[in-house]
Amino acid sequence: MSDRSPALPDERYTRRFWTALADGRLLLHRCAGAGCGQAFFPPGPVCPHCGGRDVDWTAVDPGGKLYSFTRQHVTPPGFDAPLVVGLTELAAGPRLLTPIAADYGALTVGTPVEVVPAAPPGEVDRGDLADYPYFEAVPVEPE
């Protein structure tokens, strides 16, 4: 027996992430109920930490630290080189791959950043998400 709906959803699972982002909010997932309680990304129906299926949306602080970063001198078609991308580790825990709105030379591991809505840095066919903003990491003053 399950109290989960047997029907297929009528829209993509992750739609709420994108509508919230367009609103300036970072809405991820958190393992709920008897699960491990950890926030995770990308949103999905199973907690990747403990396998729990009682998961829910959770708004998190967009602040975090740069976990790692690179400057790509060779880029996919539709992306100008060089391209600075990196992994932001949010204070809430999850890491996101993001473009970084900063010069490579100004960055170090641990640079404080915020993940904010932004236009994607290049041309990728995003299908029915084309009208939603993507995101990027922006360095902020340390608290």
Binding site: T70, R71, Q72, P94
Partner: protein, 401 residues
């Protein structure tokens, strides 16, 4: 229920009737560019490997291939190859899991031989990177990332490995030049391997002088795609047709982390837990340990990957794998020789073929026929990996002394 036979060599498992799989024939070809269809490269490799095994195409009752890359013109490749070889193997498999495709094809063949389902298996792979231009390749690579959440950022494969290199140096205080020394070692090893495409005697300083591809990774730390094909014949029992020492597949193992190109959520981007899982499985299956392996031919497309593999094997502490190379410990005459063939960096890297090239390099070592020979090598370990080492296969090969 735990496997109570863990750690016991297969041959000593009383009551278990397991047939050993032996590599009795090998063939490979590698160059910057071949102006031949994939079909002809594959058929040439398969027939050469059969000749080495003293077998005929009609002996083949299992055929296992990585599915050729999406840009190969010919689809339904294993069906076509079977037809051209005039064979009708009941067991036939084309597998595509990125860089582990060749490892998974090989392990499927080993499993069938061990189970008695197949007596003469052929594992073959072919790849032509000369037929795809850089833009189309990058477009393909973008699609291996999460299309919704990762691809719009514009990542590349070197771009992701550059970030694990940043973490490797940051977390373990690893010396950047020591990491470059691994690339220099492998390209220098390849200079002594006539079958390698990108060998040249190099210093770590010269590696760091090459142009940046994805900071901090430099050009000479990135593998160069090329064209190639390879085939191996696996037989149940050592057989009598082969004129060279029979090489036994003594251990197979596989691992996959909960990750998709960005590392595991609970740990460091500079650790590759799937390597630990896969190699532990393969070593236990072989009833041996990493310390008792004479030579390693890993799938390490970037230099810090080789370092982390030796660390995951337990040979070195995290961060010390790169320093071990500088100390000469992973050189051909060191205690743990790694990539004497030149590996992905020096030999050339057609990803579908690379796992087979690693097996063949190991077979050369165990037969005492390698161009850069580890004296007296009797046990070898190889790996394959895909993504950002998300998934791994490991294999132990031995000559029965």
């Amino acid at each position: 229920m735990p496997d109570l036979l863990d750690g016991w060599p297969r041959s000593r498992r009383r009551g278990h009737t397991v047939t050993d799989a032996y590599i009795t024939g090998v063939s490979s070809t590698l160059d910057r560019e071949y102006d031949l269809p994939e079909r002809d490269l594959a058929l040439h490799a398969i027939l050469q490997a059969l000749d080495g095994a003293g077998a005929e195409p009609t002996d083949i009752d299992g055929l296992y291939l990585p599915k050729p890359r999406p840009w190969a013109e010919q689809g339904f490749f294993s069906t076509l190859v079977s037809d051209r070889l005039g064979v009708a193997p009941d067991r036939r498999l084309e597998v595509y899991t990125g860089g582990t495709s060749g490892g998974n094809a090989f392990h499927a063949a080993v499993g069938d031989v061990r189970a008695g389902r197949v007596e003469t298996a052929v594992v073959a792979a072919v790849e032509r990177n000369s037929t795809i231009d850089t833009a189309d390749y990058f477009e393909y690579i973008l699609d291996i990332f999460d299309r919704e959440f990762q691809a719009p950022a514009g990542p590349s494969v070197p771009g992701i490995y550059a970030q694990s290199l940043q973490r490797y140096c940051h977390e373990f205080d690893a010396d950047r030049e020591a990491v470059a020394a691994i690339a220099a070692k492998n390209r220098s090893n390849a200079a002594g391997n006539p079958a390698a495409v990108f060998g040249e005697e190099l210093t770590a300083a010269a590696v760091l002088d090459s142009r940046p591809i994805a900071d901090p990774l430099r050009l000479l730390e990135c593998p160069t795609p090329c064209d190639g094909a390879a085939a191996l014949v696996l037989t149940a029992g050592a057989g009598g047709g082969s004129s060279t020492a029979p090489v036994r597949v003594s251990g197979v193992g596989a691992g996959h982390a909960t990750s998709h190109l960005l590392g595991v959520r609970d740990g460091s981007l500079a650790r590759f837990p799937a390597v630990g899982t896969a190699t532990e499985g393969a070593l236990a299956d072989a009833g041996t340990s990493a310390d008792a392996v004479d030579v390693f031919e890993p799938y390490a497309p970037f230099p810090h990957v080789e370092a982390v593999i030796t660390e995951e094997l337990g040979l070195y502490e995290p961060g010390d794998g790169a320093a071990a190379c500088v100390r000469g410990e992973t050189a051909v005459d060191g205690p743990h020789p790694v990539s004497p063939s030149g590996g992905c960096l020096g030999r050339g890297h057609p990803a579908m073929v690379t796992p087979l090239l690693n097996y063949i390099a190991a077979v050369g070592q165990l037969r005492g026929e390698a161009p850069i020979q580890v004296p007296g090598a009797e046990r070898a370990l190889t790996t394959s990996e895909h993504g950002h080492v998300d998934g791994v296969t490991a294999t132990v090969l031995e000559v029965d002394g």
